[in-house]
């Protein structure tokens, strides 16, 4: 099986700091292998500044890593030791960039068709038409980029990237500028386009929805390092670290030390409160505790006769609607988020400043040893 | 600067025709030796340009033109008086070819130029030597045959450079130029008989705003005097008409 074989390390040149205080410059290190010729979508999920764009730039050939190699099947795209570094146009990738980089002097249609090579006029026009339909851009073909809205520009950039049927698709935040309904529609279109092209696609995103709906594989990136990768389900169900959990959407993360372990259940002290959770290590170890907001129940009074192990007296700090739910911010010595239905919230009749009880089953708390 | 102790020397500023360059430098040097209180500072250029500048009161004391018509025109426009108008020399025309040239100028004179590919002259439109060259060619009867092969310099110096570069085969230029030591001897020359062209009367004018009128008069007197005349003759000029 032909593989895309990636293993490199890249460090941005240190900035010529006027102050002289030489900050550590940002770097990324990556290593993975992927089959070629399959419509496999990999989403890189990471916080702002974590290095997602940098990884794509190295793959595209826009940056030259200091160490390692990138091999695409038999082709060596990059090899630090052999001093091989193919320019982007000889790698046959299709790219969309975070800032769109539309050509301001070309119309929408000619932007989309920029990559056209060895195609008849009619063929170009037909394919442009198709893509304009796909990306909801009909009627705008003769406009210049500056006559488009932000989201329209992003969609033109997306159409331009897929126009030439590249061997590898690199998309940097392809849908960050469009509204939710449009984005949902476009994600489906994008998915079927990638299927039709039968190429691997690497999509960079800060939006979990992209990973959850597009990705076969999810790669979590933090501080320029891959901290976890696997099938999307695996990654979302079993974040391997606190950083990973924060990325996939665990809402509260508490740090503490295990005071004792009884019957496999740890007693962790956090800000003077006791938290019970499944023990991941022996007493004395540092742990991170992840609590999903939807696992936190609220009550006006303590329900001491239940089987629930964690009951904390709390003060309501914030409330915010979130679709059919209300996200409640609580202060129990530490900050805790709860997600309850609007109905339940109305029945509880709580408001900011009120006292309440937060109730969390120990089984729902994920405790992870800290490295 | 390093002059004899005492008053600073009076400076005579002269606007002079380009063909006077070598002769005038020598004249100034001689005069300075004899009269340390007098210093001649000459600017060389096209007489036509200087005419335009003098109409705007260019700060010169003395104007030495290659063509007496220019100072005369100034006087007729009310700049300067007839009394200050004078002639000091006549220009002489020569044919000059590089040393290795096969043109038999010594034998055939101007007619030898019929077999030249490019002949350099100063522009007849405004340069006196150009006008003289045209007249000479016409009188020799070869104008129609050579006029298409003329290349025109802004002045005689340029015409000479055309030949020096090898781009032109012969030049019809001022004798004063060829006679100068700076010119270098790598060529042959033939004097065009002065019957073939109207006299190139060089005239001058003391300007009414001269800062050093006395100095200007002194220098004029030197030039038109015996010593000056001899010196000019040595540099290829003829005497002025009487």
């Amino acid at each position: 099986m032909t593989l895309l074989d990636v293993d490199f390390e890249f460090r941005y040149p240190p900035s010529r700091d006027s102050g002289g205080a030489s900050h550590e410059s940002a770097s990324v290190a990556c290593r993975w292998q992927d089959p070629i010729g399959e419509p496999r979508v990999t989403v890189f999920l990471g916080a702002s500044g974590s290095g997602k764009t940098t990884v794509l730039r190295c793959l595209a050939g826009l940056e030259r890593p200091q160490r390692g190699h990138v091999r695409f099947g038999d082709h060596v795209w990059f090899d630090a030791e052999r001093r091989v570094h193919l320019p982007p146009d000889r790698r046959d990738v299709g790219g969309l960039f975070q800032e769109y980089a539309l050509f301001p002097h070309l119309t929408v249609a000619r932007n989309v068709a920029f990559g056209a090579r060895r195609l008849t006029r009619a063929a170009v026009a037909a394919r442009v038409g198709e893509l304009l339909d796909t990306f909801r851009l009909r009627g705008l073909e003769e406009r210049r980029p500056r006559q488009l809205s932000g989201g329209q520009q992003q969609r033109v950039a997306l159409a331009r990237a897929v126009f030439r049927r590249p061997k590898l698709l690199l998309l940097d935040e392809p849908l960050s500028a469009v509204d939710r309904p449009t984005g949902d529609e476009l994600r489906e279109e994008l998915r079927s386009l990638i299927r039709a092209l039968a190429i691997p696609a690497y999509i960079v995103s800060h939006d979990r929805a992209d990973a959850l709906t597009l990705a076969d594989r999810t790669v979590l990136i933090d501080g320029g390092r891959i901290i976890q990768s696997g099938t999307t389900e695996e990654v979302f169900d079993h974040p391997a670290s606190a950083a990973a959990a924060r990325l996939v959407g665990i809402d509260t993360i508490l740090l503490g030390r295990i005071a004792a372990v009884e019957d496999g259940l740890a007693r962790v002290v956090v800000a003077g409160r006791e938290v019970r959770a499944q023990a991941p290590a022996a007493a004395g170890h540092e742990v991170a505790l992840c609590i999903r907001a939807e696992d936190v129940a609220l009550a006006r009074h303590d329900v001491s006769d239940s089987s629930v192990m964690n009951r904390w007296r709390a003060t309501v700090v914030t409330e915010a609607m979130e679709g059919p739910f209300v996200r409640v911010g609580l202060d129990c010595g530490f900050r805790l988020a709860a997600l309850v239905t609007r109905d339940a919230w109305r029945r509880l009749g709580l408001k900011a400043g009120d006292e309440a009880w937060a109730i969390v089953k120990a089984a729902t708390i994920r405790a992870m040893p800290r490295n | 600067s390093g002059q004899a102790a005492g008053a600073r020397p009076a400076v005579v500023r002269v606007a002079a025709a380009a063909d006077l360059k070598f002769a005038l430098d020598e004249a100034a040097a001689r005069l300075a030796r004899r009269e340390p209180a007098l210093r001649v500072e000459a600017t060389y250029g096209s007489s036509g340009s200087m005419h335009a500048q003098l109409r705007q009161r260019a700060p010169y004391d003395l104007y030495l033109s290659a063509d007496v018509d220019y100072p005369r025109d100034l006087v007729s426009r009310g700049t300067g008086s007839v009394r200050d108008l004078f002639t000091y020399a006549t220009g002489r025309l020569v044919v000059w070819v590089p040393a290795g040239s096969t043109l038999p100028v010594e034998r055939d004179g101007l007619r030898a130029l019929e077999s030249a590919r490019r002949i350099a002259v100063a522009n007849p439109r405004h340069a006196p030597y150009g006008r003289a060259a045209e007249a000479a060619l016409r009188r020799t009867g070869i104008w129609d045959r050579v006029s298409r092969r003329l290349v025109l310099g802004e002045n005689v110096a340029q015409a000479a450079q055309f030949v020096q570069s090898g781009a032109a085969d012969a030049a019809i230029i001022a004798k004063s130029l060829v006679a100068a030591p700076a010119f270098g001897g790598a060529g042959r020359l033939w004097d065009v008989p002065d019957t073939l062209y109207p006299p190139l009367v060089q005239g001058g004018l003391i300007l009414p705003w001269a800062a050093s009128r006395a100095g200007a008069e002194r220098f004029r007197d030197f030039l038109v005097g015996d010593e000056g005349r001899a010196l000019l003759q040595a540099y290829g000029f003829g005497p002025p008409p009487r």
Binding site: A60, G61, L62, P87, P88, D89, D92, V93, G94, G95, F97, E99, A101, F103, P104, H105, F114, G115, R117, R160, A161, R164, P166, L170 | S46, G48, S49, H51, A52, D73, R118, A120, N123, R125, H126, A127, L150, V151, L152, G153, E154, Q158, Q161, F162, S165, G166, A167, A168
Partner: protein, 220 residues
């Protein structure tokens, strides 16, 4: 009016501009993209013709292209003729002399193009030269136009180099600038004024039209 000279001038200026585009654009491209040390040296070399008085430059040009020089012999063998006193000669001299007027604005225009657009073009499969032609050049055309217009206008008015190299031969190397100069030297101010006025009106019209095609004004 000396229509022959006017026609010749237009031809010279147009051809000079054309050649400057052909020579100057790649040169400017090289200057804008190379990482070599001696970029600065080449950059400076291009500007050298500016520093010498035109007549003197023409003199050196004459000295180095006359029939007895290597260049002159080569040219003679190739084209059967001499560079000095020919149209080809003044054309070549004009190109050399105007190079900085074209190359400097070109290069600074290229340097101002957003690097992200160039990266995007490369990632969409366009090679370096293709990116230059389809992205960099169209985006820097105000600068390119500025360079070409400067060079065109300057060729029309150029006089020292053309006189020295061309020898002021009517119909071959006498441009309108030389004609006007001759008029002034001959104190024929009426002719000079008429020719100058014509030149200015004509050129103003051309430039006016050219510039009105320029970009929309800045939103200030």
């Amino acid at each position: 009016m000396d229509w022959t000279a006017i026609l010749l001038t237009v031809k010279l200026a147009a051809l000079t501009t054309l050649l400057l585009a052909i020579v100057g654009l790649p040169l400017a491209y090289w200057l804008a993209t190379t990482r070599r040390r001696w970029r600065a040296v080449v950059d400076a070399a291009v500007a050298v013709p500016l520093l010498l008085p035109p007549t003197v430059l023409g003199f050196y040009f004459l000295m180095s292209t006359g029939p007895n020089t290597a260049v002159g012999r080569l040219y003679g063998r190739l084209f059967d003729g001499t560079l000095p006193f020919s149209f080809a000669g003044i054309l070549l001299a004009s190109v050399v002399y105007n190079l900085p007027f074209a190359v400097r604005p070109f290069a600074s225009g290229f340097a101002a193009v957003d690097h992200r657009l160039i990266e995007a073009a490369r990632c969409l499969g366009a090679s370096g030269p293709r990116t230059f032609l389809t992205v960099v050049l169209p985006l820097s055309w105000p600068a390119v136009l500025a360079g070409l217009v400067l060079a065109f206008a300057h060729t029309v008015g150029e006089f020292g180099v053309v006189l020295m190299v061309g020898g002021n031969i009517p119909g071959v190397t006498r441009t309108i600038a030389l004609a006007i100069y001759d008029d002034v030297q001959a104190l024929d101010y009426a002719s000079a004024n008429a020719a100058s006025a014509l030149l200015v009106v004509f050129a103003a019209a051309v430039l006016g039209v050219t510039y009105s095609l320029q970009r929309r004004p800045l939103p200030l």
